[in-house]
């Protein structure tokens, strides 16, 4: 998929792509996908990517968790944050899902094996960082946007016109859909009460994701609504509006 199409990728399309990947995994391994989604296995078995650890350069104020080594088809995880990953498996899983998203929906795979010519820069929303053990520059996409105006503008351009209200990149929506497939979330909604934080925390533990990742996903699927500035959970905006009119 080319970068130019990325900005038009709607949630539904991303859900279809990730669901397709999970079905491919099920067909290949004979294992039914349940929570927690075996994201590492899916990435290896279906996308054919490997993992590696390296020290990825970070500039002041940056926290880069991973990058994608396109030439070697490897997801690189930043050794500087090993402790963080060990303490928080959900973070590791979302980082893997995010980098897999770059491979699956972001990078033009037909160009992967072609070395970049001197003077030809990567596209403007791509940050380049040095991986010390590889002694090579790798692509770190989007994550630079928080500290770099040019990258931020590019990030906004990419997400412009997509499904409101989230200001999330396509690859973040990809990781979220991969780790929390719609059908598993809807199944969970039959046995859990999404208006209770205790049930959301239960689902967080089952899915091995962070609570913020889960909340964004549930909002995206229109399964919960949280009024701005509050922590109260509603099933929908209509339910919230309806309750407000009672007072």
């Amino acid at each position: 998929m080319s970068r130019s199409n990325l900005r038009f990728l709607r949630n539904k399309v991303i859900d279809e792509i990730t669901a397709g990947r999970l079905r491919e995994y099920e067909a290949k391994t004979g294992e039914i996908v349940r929570f927690p989604v075996p994201v590492e296995n899916v990435v290896e078995q279906v996308l054919g990517l490997d993992f590696d650890w390296d020290e990825i350069e970070e500039r002041l104020g940056e926290e880069i968790l991973g990058g994608f080594d396109a030439e070697n088809r490897k997801i690189l995880l930043n050794e500087r944050h090993t402790d963080l990953f060990e303490q928080n498996p959900g973070l590791l899983r979302s980082t893997i899902g995010h980098e897999a998203g770059h491979y699956d929906i972001d990078i033009d795979r037909s160009t992967l094996l072609h070395p970049k010519l001197p003077g030809i820069e990567l596209s403007s929303h791509t940050a380049k960082r040095h991986a010390s053990k590889l002694n090579r520059t790798i692509e770190v996409l989007f994550q630079r946007a928080s500290s770099d105006e040019v990258a931020w503008q590019a990030y906004k351009l990419l997400t412009e016109g997509q499904d409101a209200p989230e200001v999330k990149s396509a690859v973040d929506r990809y990781q979220s859909a991969l780790l929390m497939p719609e059908w598993l979330i809807r199944e969970a909604s039959e046995r859990l009460d999404f208006t209770k934080w205790s049930d959301l925390y239960r689902l967080r533990d089952e899915a091995e994701v962070s609570i913020s990742n889960l909340v964004v996903r549930l909002q995206r699927l229109n399964l919960i609504f949280i009024p701005e500035g509050t922590k109260t959970l509603y099933r929908s905006k209509d339910e919230y509006t309806g309750q407000k009119t009672l007072f």
Partner: protein
Amino acid sequence: MQFSERIRELRKAKNLSLRALAEAAGVSFTYISKIENDKLDFGDYPSEDLIGKLAAALGADKDELLLLAKKVPPEIRERLFERPDAFRKLASLDDAALDKFLQDIEKKKRKGK
């Protein structure tokens, strides 16, 4: 084939994640990743003990993994110390002579059955 490649190949064939293999072998997932990417800090290969655990978790032949890690399996090592003269003679043979010697052993085995 290298030790690192073989571990990755066996792990993928069993559809084990890095974390699942790490848990089974009692090490961190970053350590397994380093093994697979030839990035171990101390020494080129894991210990014999860990190779045994990896072989068990992967359902692999421990001797095969030990040899790929340039380690001599304990039973062979023991025999080597018991009969250094025999191993010295074997080591002095070229490939053709060694192959013939192995064929002769196989023939004798078959006749004995």
